[in-house]
Amino acid sequence: MSRYFKAELAENKKLNNAYNLLTFVPFSKPVEPEPGQFFMLGIEGDHDPLLKRPFSLFRRTPRGFQILYRIRGRGTLLMRNLGRGSVIHVLGPLGNSYPMPPKDRTPLIVAGGIGIASVFSLAERLAASKNKAHIYYGARSKGDLLMLNALKKVAKRLSVTTDDGSCGERGCITDILSVFFSDAVSFDVNTLIYACGPRKMLETVAGIAAGKGIEAYVSMEENMACGIGACLGCVVKTVNGHKRVCKEGPVFNAQEIVW
């Protein structure tokens, strides 16, 4: 069992022009990942791109792991072109994970854009433990909202927004979240928030949580080189100094981050 292994690409499914769902199957017995953890993926070839790229665990499958990714730069463009049977180099699972809520807490998930990739397996885990989360999911446009049917199955309730109003309510996901929290009827002090998405969204979520005295966990993102805590490249500023996203994170208590 090693956290550095080769894997076979079993499927590289196109969801639409901008997103793919990749399934890989390790050649050796892997370490079991927890929701919130990530893998560094490298493709075989020369040294361009040079570094591996971090991707959240989207879902565990019977034989392997799934990564949900957006085609954004050179690395993900090359990844999209990989066919079934290609060999990839994987480091992981890495980092910490979302702390599971005690039974008496009400989980609430906030996802922005591709941040859904990180919280999906958490929603699945919560559903399996019979404590389904209310999921707030916002994206730019309809085509950026992914896996909605699968999400509905694992969510207690799914609230959706898009910036352009092409699906769900028009606006920011944090707008409807603050409305929810300002409503005395719907507000529940036992809520526990989990969030992954753009930094601005996470900051707003942290602010809402702080205002209501609710515990919130956020999954942070930074440029990363080694993934195992050695290079100190991926730090975020916290109230206790710089902390590594790959080691002390990616999941942090929202109040620990210096926004």
Partner: protein, 301 residues
């Protein structure tokens, strides 16, 4: 087949070491490789007091390389001695501690303190970080200051002393001679090359520190050339580094004049890179009927 080399009075079982700043304090990689197989472990640069380093973003990939501006974040040498060194003592691989100061006195004090503890086998003084404040770089770029700081450290340590040189100078061979004359047992080169990357959409630098140090395959030809220049002008051993990704690269550095090599950025891409390189050097030696790895040093024809 003999793979051992000597750096001053330090004997290494093979010429492959880790490059400071890319291997943490050793622990991080012990899950992936047997540290006992390495020629030496060179740990992340330490200072007398802990440092929090530069704000993020600290790294950005560039074609065939990466820019970093970590800013020498470290836990401080007392925490290293207390919390990290005991783990490294369990291995029979020499531990080389990279260190730096913000003044000549700090350099000397740090070297003295590190020389007083069990389990440290050599020191590498960093006078060449490209991400420190302006003014700091004179330790590695002004021959007079280099001479003073190396002399001061030499007086405060009996350990094998390696001076890590900056490529951001006009004449690196001159800097190597200065280090040698001031008492260095070896020189290591190159540290990263100062670089800059700009986001053309936002017109902002891609690193919070604006500039950073370039490493990876992109710098290798520059590093090999500098090793060759230094090798020809000093008597002390040269430790070569800069973009070593494979055993072929390691052999190339040795042919240019390196006695030993250090693997840096490659660790990030493949945590087993050092072991692959050691094994590859052995295969090269067997295939080319080289019985002693020392024959490779300066072997360019």
């Amino acid at each position: 087949m003999n793979l051992s080399v000597t750096i001053g009075k330090l004997k290494l079982k093979n010429p492959v070491m880790t490059a400071s700043g890319t291997f943490g304090y050793g622990e991080e990689y012990s899950e992936f490789i047997d540290l006992n197989r390495l020629g030496a472990v060179v740990v992340k640069g330490l200072s007398l007091k802990p440092k929090d380093g530069n704000p993020p973003p600290r790294i950005i990939e560039t074609p065939g390389g990466m820019l970093n501006a970590i800013g020498l974040q470290n836990i401080g040498l007392e925490s290293f001695i207390k919390d990290k060194l005991p783990f490294l003592r369990r291995f029979h691989t020499p531990v080389i501690v990279n260190f730096f100061g913000d003044s000549i006195d700090e350099y000397a004090e740090a070297a003295g303190r590190l020389s007083s503890v069990e389990g440290i086998h050599g020191l590498e003084m960093n006078i060449s970080c490209p991400n420190k404040q302006a003014g700091w770089c004179i330790f590695g770029t002004d021959p007079k200051v280099t001479s003073e700081v190396v002399s001061a450290v030499r007086k405060s340590t009996g350990l094998p002393l390696i001076v890590k040189l900056s490529p951001n100078v006009t004449d690196i061979a001159l800097m190597a001679r200065v280090a040698q004359d001031a008492g260095a047992d070896a020189v290591s080169l190159i540290n990263t090359i100062t670089g800059l990357a700009i986001d053309i959409k936002t017109r902002r630098p891609k690193l919070a520190n604006i500039t950073g140090g370039l490493s990876g395959p992109a710098v290798k030809p520059v590093a090999v050339r500098m090793v060759w220049e230094v090798y020809r002008s000093v008597k002390i051993p040269v430790i070569g580094m800069g973009g070593i990704m494979s055993s072929d690269d390691a052999v190339e550095f040795m042919l240019a004049g390196a006695t030993a090599v250090a693997v840096g950025t490659a660790n990030f891409i493949n945590p087993m890179a050092t072991i692959d390189i050691i094994e590859g050097v052995e295969i090269y030696m067997r295939d080319n009927r080289v019985t002693d790895v020392k024959e490779l040093t300066g072997g360019m024809i």
